[in-house]
Symmetry: C2
Subunit: 372 residues, 2 copies
């Protein structure tokens, strides 16, 4: 269980297979986010059809609602959300630091108020592991502190705490059918990142995540951090870049040796009526689509693009129909899953690096904030 075999490499990019109790994961891969044990507006069948293999769920949300003990009583997350394939849960740390109200951090853990009802809760490394063991994902994450990437004094303390918490998570873990990944922190500071990478790499984690990116730093800073960090990580363990990203981020991350990505962007864009396309991010409410018989992306093989016109999707949005969310989520998720599938095939053929300029050009318009 949890063996990682690298099957092809090209430069720092690599393809691998990570074995989990719910099946083998081919890397690189993009994992859709199912915050509340559901990838918004999609059934598990639809997720399978669009090529999803690993789904992420949020410990913070599921702890608050419906409660990790309820999920355990219902025989775990796989059964609860009817996803028989691998699942990853985060540690709850990121949401505690981004969503919860009036949190207080100390060396032992974090006390916070629920964003739902204001009730007070406390997470510690041990508590996070217990919750994640109740949820029962295949991959679970060490409890870490995600700090402002530019606040050096705070980051120094946060990195130190993250390291102590990593050790405590390893000690607290009891299930053998879950892979616990450590998390490298350190903001944008090379020396902090380097120290963190060395420390986390020295612990017996079967996989390592790079956290604290895509949280406000520039794209250049993110890529420089990857350039520095990834070479310090063991070759033989999967590397997971948390909360990233855009099509360009996936291309640039895989080039730098990242294996696993997750991001809410595709489903969040869907709720904002936007679609990834080679013409840039499309605002599907735009009146110019009212009679446009073309699919969102003529090169896309997703269910949405094989069946529906831009005009129909715009109609659904105008008419405030749920189906718009579903169809746009299918398309946006498939766009990223397919991009990563294509890159995987290129790495196996040894043609990825020569295709990078084409891939970047194709997806260039999808990182910008502006919608077309």
């Amino acid at each position: 269980m949890f063996e990682f075999h690298i099957t092809a490499t090209e430069g720092r990019a690599r393809c691998g297979i990570f074995s989990t109790p719910h099946g083998d994961l081919k890397t690189p891969l993009f994992a859709p986010v199912g915050t509340q044990a559901t990838v918004k507006a999609l059934t598990p069948d639809q997720l399978e059809s669009l090529g999803a293999t690993l789904i992420l769920a949020n410990t913070y949300h599921l702890y608050l609602r419906p409660g990790d003990e309820v999920v355990a009583e219902l025989r775990g997350l796989h059964r609860f959300m009817a996803w028989p394939h691998p699942i990853l849960t985060d540690s709850g740390g990121f949401q505690v630091f981004s969503l919860a109200q009036t949190r207080q951090v100390d060396d032992d853990g974090v006390t916070f108020k629920s964003h739902i009802d204001g009730s007070t809760h406390r997470f510690t490394p041990e508590k996070s592991i217990r919750i994640q063991e109740n949820l029962g994902a295949d991959i679970i994450m060490a409890f870490d502190e995600c700090a402002d990437p530019y606040d050096r004094p705070y980051l120094e303390r946060a990195v130190e705490r993250t390291h102590r918490w990593a050790e405590r998570c390893l000690a607290a873990k009891t299930r053998t059918d879950q892979a616990l990944f450590g998390i490298v922190q350190g903001g944008i500071y090379p020396d902090l990142r380097e120290a963190s990478a060395h420390f986390i790499a020295s612990l017996p984690f079967p996989g390592i995540a790079i956290g604290g990116l895509s949280v406000g730093e520039t794209k250049e800073e993110m890529l420089a951090t990857l350039d520095l960090t990834v070479p310090l990580l063991p070759e033989g363990k999967p590397r997971y870049l948390m909360g990233v990203g855009t099509p360009e981020d996936l291309i640039e991350g895989i080039r730098r040796g990242v294996d696993i990505f997750d991001c809410v962007l595709p489903t969040r864009l869907a709720r904002h009526r936007a679609a990834f396309s080679p013409q840039g991010r499309l605002n599907m409410m735009n009146a110019r689509f009212a009679r446009d018989e073309r699919p969102i992306d003529e090169t896309c093989d997703c269910y949405t693009c094989r069946h529906f016109s831009r005009a129909y999707i715009r109609h659904l949005i105008n008419a405030r129909e749920f189906l718009a969310h579903t169809l746009l989520s299918i398309h946006n998720l498939r766009a990223l899953v397919r991009l990563v599938e294509e890159i995987r095939a290129m790495i196996i053929e040894g043609t990825f690096e020569q295709n990078v300029p084409t891939l970047l050009a194709r997806w260039a318009g999808n990182a910008a904030r502006e919608e077309k």
Copy 2:
């Protein structure tokens, strides 16, 4: 095209096959309602999987948004909504009389204001047919006036107008690949219903609908009206009871010789978080489902019941997740489609009538307004 073959009968109940340009329809059947060219929260794939064969779409809604001419330009409703099977459009009459604001009826037609933006529009029989020809459904409906079922003086005028409009619809129709159904009106008054049935039956419609029911009259009045009306209709044409109904209504309607039903109830209940079940209508928000591992209905073969617990569905509702609508809609629609499939098999075996008490008892709790 539009041949109707009766393949089995039991008492007044019958099984048949109605041929349309988009495939044969086995009757009796229950048609899900796709008001705005989408059955709310479901993809065409999901509709196929739950056994839907005929989908209804609303002329009034599609005329206003996106516009019937837009749909025609996009090559018709089948392609627009990606439903390659038969579609039925209503005439717009019912919505004009129930939804539109400040309408004025005269013998030529109806002037009304859009419920969306208050703009003024006019429907006549000719206009309704032109819109329905633009939409391009397989079965289209005569433009009729649906009046208060107890207002006899108004009903007398409305029935007379409905008859004149039926003749004008037949005259206005130009497409040969659409079956135009006439509609019997007359409220709860036997003499009006009888006159209307005779008149509509005398016209060359390939199918006949019974309108103006399930609009405020009692269940007994509805069944008495069916008892009176159906025997006056030609044996060899399909009979469509519009806007009906509950599981019990389907059982009672089929017993009385009805072939086709449609109703928004299953999808509307889904939006109100309620589910059909042999234990009665379930309010899925109920706290008693919080740890309930059972499916909504242990005897149901739908995607929802095969994969998800009541606890999960309650969680989705609590967490305000779209997927709750989708899963409940699948279940509620499948419940009615499956009920009608079961009755069809019973009619073929000649065992329907003996099973009626069991069927009625099984679904008894699902007509009541109260939810459990």
